[in-house]
């Protein structure tokens, strides 16, 4: 790494980011309102994948509760932003829904983050299914109806709201990664006892980060409510919302912040394509893709890009030095 690449990177990355943001901001005009719904969907998957990565990637605790927090958000929108009567403006609903998820995560985290490894995954995996069954019972037996309707919001507004949330989650993820908390989280993932001995309050940090990631999942849930119109326990607390973001993050690669977004966009689009083309076989094809990704792309596409970049970078420096590139090009 020499000084020219550093400076070029310093200007290149913000410039590209700015360009992407501007393109996204004018996207409703560029591709038309008909297709913007798909974009919103892809952004939703991106938010879920990035917020999953915030907690699970550095600490190594595999959370399978994403669907639960997302469902809390959906239900918040169905109650506070119901078609029968809007109680709060949508932005306020989003914050409230996020806070509900935040509090739920604090509770779940306080109970379960003492558990190591697979027990945590097992427990959070059950949370979604539990919420599904419990709310089914609650809605049918206590409230007397299975589903709820959400008030209508126009497509472009929903798109911009999703865009704001994804920017917020990316900034949060970046700040956490760069801060000393990010380092501490990394430490927990590598060796928890050692991190604790170094003075990291591991339990508090884990619970807090878990709750922050849940906040964004819940907020995105509220923002998705008006887009799906109808919320019932089986669609809200669905295992898909848990596993697809994990798969997307894995596919994109978790080492870089753009990885989960890359994964969400490509997989979200693949999913959309398969649903419309082969509705009966799509889950089958999806399962096969998942297995293939886990086996053959453990570092994701992002890792692949990094590898290629490193190799190219090495090649270029060697060329500049005029060293014996030819013999070592393949190593």
């Amino acid at each position: 790494m020499n000084i020219t690449t550093l400076t070029s990177k310093r200007f290149l990355v913000p410039a590209v980011l700015l360009l992407v943001l501007v393109l996204l901001a004018i996207a409703p005009r560029l591709i038309g309102l008909d297709h913007i719904n798909i974009m919103t969907d892809l952004i939703m998957w991106g938010v879920l994948a990035v917020s999953w990565v915030i907690f699970s990637a550095p600490t190594g605790y595999m959370s399978l509760a994403t669907g639960g927090f997302f469902g809390i958000g959906l239900y918040t929108s169905a109650i506070l932003y119901a078609r029968e009567g809007v109680l709060l403006p949508l932005p306020a609903c989003i914050v409230v829904g996020g806070l509900f998820s935040f509090c739920a995560a604090l509770g779940i985290g306080a109970v379960t983050l003492r558990l190591r490894g697979i027990y945590f995954a097992m427990f959070t995996f059950g949370v979604v299914e539990f919420s599904n069954r419990f709310f089914n019972w609650f809605e049918l037996e206590i409230m007397g109806a299975r589903g709820r309707n959400v008030a209508v919001v126009d497509t472009a507004t929903l798109y911009y709201i999703a865009l704001i949330i994804v920017v917020a989650v990316m900034v949060t993820a970046y700040l956490i990664k760069r801060s000393r908390y990010g380092l501490a989280l990394q430490g927990i993932g590598e060796h928890e006892e050692a991190a604790a001995h170094m003075g990291v309050d591991t339990t508090r940090l884990k619970i807090l980060t878990f709750a922050i990631s849940a906040f964004f999942m819940g907020a995105m849930g509220v923002a998705t409510g008006p887009r799906v119109f109808y919320v019932d326990p089986t669609t809200a607390f669905n295992a898909n919302y848990t596993f697809l973001p994990v798969l997307m993050a894995l596919f994109g690669g978790m080492g870089q912040l753009y990885g989960p977004i890359l994964g969400a966009v490509s997989f979200g689009y693949l999913r959309y394509y398969l649903i419309t083309k082969v509705p009966y076989q799509y889950m089958l094809i999806f399962g096969i893709t998942l297995v293939l990704v886990v086996v053959f792309l453990p570092q994701g596409v992002g890792g692949l890009i990094q590898r290629v970049q490193n190799r190219l970078g090495g090649l270029i420096t060697k060329l500049r030095k005029g060293g014996p590139v030819e013999q070592h090009a393949n190593t």
């Binding site: 109970v111 558990l115 995996f125 539990f130 019972w137 049918l140 596993f243 894995l250 998942l290």
Partner: protein, 292 residues
Amino acid sequence: MTTRLILDIVFNGVVWGGIYALLSMGLSLQYGVARVLNLAHGEFIMVGSFLAFTVCSMFVGINPLLSLAIVGPGLFILGFLLHGTLFKQLRKSSPSVGAFEGSSLLATFGLLYIIQYAAKLEWGSLPANIHFLPTPIRILDVIVPTNRVVVLVFALGISLALYLFLSRTRLGKAIRAAAQDPATAGLMGVNINFVLALCFGLGAAIAGFAGVLHILCFPALTSMGLKYTLIAIIVIVLGGVGSIQGCLIGGLILGIVGQAVEHYNAMLAFPAFYVIFLILLLVKPKGIFGKS
């Protein structure tokens, strides 16, 4: 509550408990030895049920219990091959046991989709039934269909056979050694890849047995797998990973509690299981019989 009602609940709970015990023994082998938390485990149960259904509709008049002889080896081979290819590869490429557990969990989630949707394409999404010995018999004060008694006897028999296999045979000893410390077991001359694949296959076969027993009493659905995976997970947490007695007792507890809650409201059975799970994780995260 009358005595008859209580007996009724207990008996049905014990039958379900036998099925739960079997299916969690399968998962216990897969997770306890091969370190694969198999989210597709419930799908093997579903495949077991539907294979039995297919066998019974191909050979009309056959005793449905004979399908055990087809389902068991069939699923064993499937599980063995799965481990020999997919999980062996993952195990080779994973840097640590923790990483392997994480990536294999995700891979089994993919398997879940593959098996479940392949089954939907093959068998549709309507409930399937096998008509088997519905004649009622009277035990103590309860009147029960004969098929449940037969199923209970088979579930206990298969559990006992598995227990004897693990505790008395040379191969069982190798499996127990591999569960405790795969690296050392390997050094002692245990063919570790073979033993792990064997356990995964055995787990799938036992899940298949549970599936056959399930469809003899209760209707089966192609979408029922995930529910049984979760129940199996709760049972093995309850009983402690890798303990046959634990699975049996955990299964019975869940079966009886499930029937009792179902008597009050069928939709609350699963939340009740989960509450048990929650309390247990708080009080004794290694399970009732687990070594801490």
